[in-house]
Symmetry: C2
Subunit: 187 residues, 2 copies
């Protein structure tokens, strides 16, 4: 749980009371490779902090699995659309490596928000940082070639190649696996 505390502190320091309340509300989740945290059609009621392992979010489009994010150590994980809107999502969250997470339900989190303004601020700030990341990714997707997107990924997350199959990375980059394979062979 220290990992989470350290991670949180980098975003926004919270009072010891808020941390105490938060840590009481957290559940430890150990989940093995290839299992699913979320399936399409269900409402994702929990927010997770990933301490160890990795996961991916994907959905099915015309019979193909389309990966649109990966989660690694120190990331917050949820089916964002579903968690926020309280509606069923189209997203599947699959565990790619045996993972350790800390989870909190939406209800518990909102109760904590009422009691600790601190925590709501923390979440606001984290949301904002994740928004900025998403914005950067959109810009790359909109205005860069497949090769540039790949090279950018290699710079920011070189470890990803060692942990994720190529086909899933290609999907994440918005290109076919064959194209990614060819890009790599030409570098």
């Amino acid at each position: 749980m220290n990992t989470l505390y350290n991670c949180i502190s980098q975003y926004h320091p919270i009072s010891s009371g808020a941390w105490e309340a938060l840590s009481k509300a957290l559940t430890r989740v150990e989940i093995p490779r290839n299992s699913f945290l979320v399936r399409e059609g269900m409402i994702c009621n929990k927010l997770y902090f990933l301490e160890r392992g990795c996961l991916r979010g994907y959905y099915n489009l015309d019979g193909k699995e389309v990966t649109y994010w990966f989660g690694f150590e120190n990331n917050f994980i949820t089916s964002f659309y579903s968690f926020i809107s309280r509606k069923p999502g189209i997203e599947n969250i699959q565990v790619l490596e045996d993972s350790t997470m800390w989870g909190i339900s939406s209800e518990a989190l909102h109760q904590l928000f009422d009691q600790h303004h601190d925590l709501e601020r923390l979440v606001r700030i984290i949301n904002e940082q994740y928004y900025i990341r998403l914005e950067e990714r959109l810009m790359a997707m909109q205005f860069k070639t497949a090769r540039e997107r790949y090279e950018q990924l290699m710079e920011t997350s070189p470890h990803i190649l060692q942990r994720i199959p190529l086909g899933q990375i290609a999907s994440y980059l918005g290109i076919s696996q064959e194209t990614l394979s060819r890009i790599r062979s030409q570098v």
Copy 2:
């Protein structure tokens, strides 16, 4: 200012005290077509609510203007990266039609957050809704063809064609103006 109040209420109702404090902190901004709200290289210190008019955010890439969002009535407008990170951004915000806005500085907003938990919750919720929109846009960009993206835009915002030059829409969709023109002629 009623427009803003109604808009806010749809996201999260706030106490009358919070609204009173907020409305006192707002400045009315009238800004004419073709002027700039934000220029690249500057820190954007303000968040705006657009009551009337429209704007676009763009940046320069290899001598080309790359449009990555449009703002219309009832949208919140800022150079998000710069506003959040307090750093200079690469974004230009240009006024496309004579516009009326309500603006608040970052400092004033954060002071209001300290005094009114309400308002911070409101902003958290608005952020989350904007995050979801951005996520949808990323998904479209990642996994849909140019034609599909255009058709989707026509469904969700048909008015955009009447108000925005084609070249800017093409840029927003991540395609060349010529391609968009051809897509339209083939429908």
